[in-house]
């Protein structure tokens, strides 16, 4: 029974924080008469979101969502596969990993203009941005997972005379799953961030582009509404990954 109480508390706590922030924000904006162009009140942001979603925002929302998902769906299996291959061939891992780290640490925003120079301003360049940002983080976490197998578990497979493939399927891969999911979660976050960055840098569509566009017209409420939609995408993606993870990983170590 206690456990149930805790899980309810776990759910209620962040909701409570949301309510507190919402009310304080609303109060501060109203009490100090902050102009809505500077900082709109949350009530007005939500109102503007609901009023304008269909006519102004939905098409951009769908474009952004599709770009993120396309990139993500390409990046996840590629990242895991690259991680698996590199972890099994140490020399490859040694040869490539410094460049992967360079790719991860280089801010994507400096690469996007180059990509656009080569590929134009369409969605392809944004998908490329997602892939370039998400694959390395998924790959690096996967490598950590594939390398973190306990020696005794490998010895078990050796004592059974298992092949390298059998060992990978039965031990190395399931053992790596929790790290792989950490990579996928980060990959989801990075995908969202990189699409928005790419949309801000260039092009005329997508939520990132709309944030800049509406800010330019001092339509702050609409800009905030777009930010809310970005958050919605990010949170939904992270939560869905969490649900998949908990369905796949049913055991405790």
């Amino acid at each position: 029974m206690k456990k149930k109480d805790f899980s309810r508390l776990n759910f209620l706590a962040p909701v409570l924080v949301f309510i507190v922030i919402f009310i304080s924000w609303e109060t501060i904006v109203n009490v100090f008469h902050i102009p809505r162009q500077v900082l709109p009140s949350p009530v007005n942001i939500f109102k503007s979101l609901f009023d304008n979603f269909i006519p102004l925002l939905s098409s951009h929302f769908l474009i952004t969502l599709r770009t993120i998902l396309t990139g993500f769906v390409i990046a996840v299996p590629t990242g895991i596969l690259l991680g698996a291959v590199l972890s099994q061939y140490k020399i490859l891992e040694k040869a490539i990993s410094p460049y992967v780290i360079i790719l991860v640490t280089t801010p994507l925003i400096v690469l996007v203009p180059l990509f656009m120079l080569w590929l134009g301003f369409g969605t392809n360049v944004r998908i490329l941005a997602v892939i370039a940002q998400a694959i390395p983080v998924i790959m690096l976490n996967s490598i950590t997972g594939f390398n973190s197998v306990e020696k005794t578990k490998l010895e078990l497979m050796e004592s059974l005379g298992a092949t390298k493939w059998q060992t990978f399927v039965k031990v190395t891969f399931p053992n790596a799953l929790s790290h792989v999911f950490t990579g996928i979660t980060l990959g989801g976050v990075f995908s969202t961030i990189s699409v928005i960055s790419a949309e801000i840098v260039g092009g005329k569509t997508g939520l990132g582009n709309r944030i800049i566009y509406f800010s330019g017209f001092i339509e702050t409420e609409l800009a905030f509404a777009c930010i809310l939609l970005v958050i919605l995408i990010g949170v939904t993606l992270a939560t869905s990954i969490g649900v998949v993870r908990d369905t796949v990983i049913k055991w405790k170590n």
């Binding site: 005794t152 578990k153 497979m157 050796e158 059974l160 005379g161 298992a162 399931p174």
Partner: protein, 267 residues
């Protein structure tokens, strides 16, 4: 030839280390007969685990030969002979992502043994150790004693003739350990497997074995093979047998004697 089924001849294992080659075991020679229960006893670092890992196909020896039945291996035990061996690890070494049933079917899958006969064998073994109710549980849901029981029956599931046990009960509390020792004796009496059992516990080795190999360190080697001539089935009361005490004194004496020599050398 008699009924020798495991033989090591002049086996040596050298590990390369940063400080240069380290001789883990040297001049290891022994033969184990069918249905024997042999213990390998010695202080830590004497190479007990190295020997059993070479026998289990986990390590390759640097020199010497291992013979199973009539098959000689000069560079590591490999291939289908492994299906005649069951290996029990120090830790239970179950795979946490597989249910107990799946853990027990792992050797069957690798050795390509399928069919109702083998499915039934899993159930029988679970019944033997009283864990039928946990068939679909994950290892983390079991106590450490239960986990180690599953570790033991996993090594039996493909019905091997030989059981290699690397300090299997070393990590358990003394009560559970004693219980499992007697369970192991009854399993051995029922199935007549040939067992090589590693321990650093002298009492355990006398209680279980028909022969005890005593090892010393620097380099790891077998210094004495002692036949344990005590009646079976053995019970707790065996420790009152004067011959038991004699064996204990002899083995402990041997271990201390050789440890003493090392200690003097180190000064």
């Amino acid at each position: 030839m008699n009924d020798t089924i495991i033989k090591m001849q002049d086996v040596e294992k050298i590990y390369p280390t940063k400080k240069g080659p380290l001789v883990a075991v040297q001049d290891v020679n022994f033969a184990i007969n069918k249905e024997d229960f042999v213990s390998l006893v010695g202080p830590s670092g004497c190479g007990k685990s190295t020997i059993i890992r070479i026998l289990g196909g986990i390590l390759d020896q640097t020199r010497g030969t291992v013979t199973y039945f009539d098959r000689e291996f000069s560079s590591g035990v490999k291939g289908d002979i492994l299906s005649k061996i069951g290996f029990v690890f120090q830790s239970h070494n179950l795979l946490p992502w597989l249910s107990i049933k799946k853990n027990l079917s792992l050797p069957l899958e690798i050795f390509k043994l399928s069919g109702a006969k083998w499915e039934k064998r899993i159930d029988e073994l679970l019944e033997m150790v009283g864990l039928t109710a946990y068939k679909n549980a994950y290892p983390a849901e079991l106590s450490s004693g239960m986990q180690q029981r599953i570790g033991v029956i996993r090594a039996l599931v493909h019905d091997p003739e030989i059981l290699l046990m690397d300090e299997p009960f070393g990590s358990l509390d003394s009560i559970t350990r004693e219980l499992l020792n007697f369970e192991l004796l009854s399993i051995w009496q029922k199935t007549r497997k040939t067992i090589l059992f590693i321990t650093h516990n002298v009492e355990e080795s006398i209680l279980l074995s028909s022969r005890v190999f005593v090892m010393a360190t620097n380099p790891g080697r077998i210094i004495e093979a002692i036949d344990i001539d005590l009646p079976r089935p053995r019970t707790q009361s065996i420790s009152n047998d004067p011959r038991y005490l004699e064996y204990e004194a002899t083995i402990t004496g041997l271990i201390d004697q050789f440890r003493g020599v090392d200690a003097v050398e180190e000064v």
